[in-house]
Amino acid sequence: MLTHEQSDTLTEVFNAGVIKAGVALTNLVGHQVRMQVPLVGVTDFTDLHNCLGIGNDLQLVSVCQQFCGTMDGYALLLLSRESGDALTNRLTGSDPGTAPAEAERSETLLEVGNILINGILGTIANTVGDRFEYQVPVYREGSLPLIIGISSCAANCSIGDSHSLYARAQFDIDEARVIGSILILLTAGGFDRLIGLVDGLRGQAKATASGGAAPQTPVK
């Protein structure tokens, strides 16, 4: 569904956001965070677990943030239960290895998710000259299919939609033994619009490289 060039440009845009999110997370936890180059692709929701490398029966904690604008969709911070506990303990100063109270875990991870997701989406918006309106983030627990199902339903993204774009950015914080993923899913319409914006960006880049005049109105 994506050409090599489109995939390349999308990865570049997402990567800039991932770097921003990584800096924010490093400042938050006070420890070096390693962010991986994001993986961008198009998939059917039902095959998402394969693309993400997350088993369907693994119990996860998640923060979901819906967004709308030129593109509609939602973003997820996904962590295993153990990683969620480790990150919470790290940020609240609690003993590593202890299970945080439910409320403490959800409050802490909600804020972490909010900061990371905004780092990525905000960078995308600034890059393509667009604006996202965000909903208040929601904390959820469960398996990947459950979280995706509920989040998709809430965001009016149809499950099984074969035109859904995903971007996965993995990070890890050695000291706290935290490994997580940030996932962005777009509705079919949102996917088409993003591709249009990406094609606009590539057109601009080509015009600049060849010494031609860049379009006056970039990529709206």
Binding site: T92, I117, V136
Partner: protein, 127 residues
């Protein structure tokens, strides 16, 4: 010492900010959304407001509009995870003194307070 009103729906964030501001010697009051923040503002007359943007009931933009409608002159520093340029512009147009991106550091917060707190609140009371 200044009277500071923190408005944020995140208990985690309120706790972090309260801890930082308390350690600087300020008196902190918390509110969990813009609507409550507007009420508390009437009561305690803070020297400065530190507010989140994305909140249920009344968000940070609504808070800024509400303060403008009341003719309030209390400086507002927005602390948000939203890094979009258009958001920054909108907040500044609505009268916010500054927009800091989460997570804020003690140094960033201190600088912002130093710039926007009314001068007399930084001075010791004569008695």
């Amino acid at each position: 010492m200044a009277r500071i009103l923190i408005i944020d729906d995140s208990k985690f964030q309120r706790k972090c900010l309260s801890r930082m501001l308390g350690a600087m010697g300020h008196e902190v009051t918390e509110a969990e959304n813009g609507a409550i923040g507007l009420q508390v503002h009437e009561t305690i007359k803070p020297d400065i407001i530190i507010s989140d943007l994305l909140m249920p009931v009344l968000d940070g933009i609504g808070l800024l509009r509400g303060l403008n409608a009341k003719g309030a002159t209390t400086p507002v520093v927005v602390v948000t995870a939203d890094i979009q340029e258009c958001t920054r512009e909108e907040c500044l147009q609505l009268g916010a003194k500054a927009l800091l991106n989460k997570p804020v550091t003690v140094a960033t917060l201190e600088t912002a307070l130093g710039r926007f707190l009314p001068a007399q609140t930084g001075e010791k009371s004569p008695c």
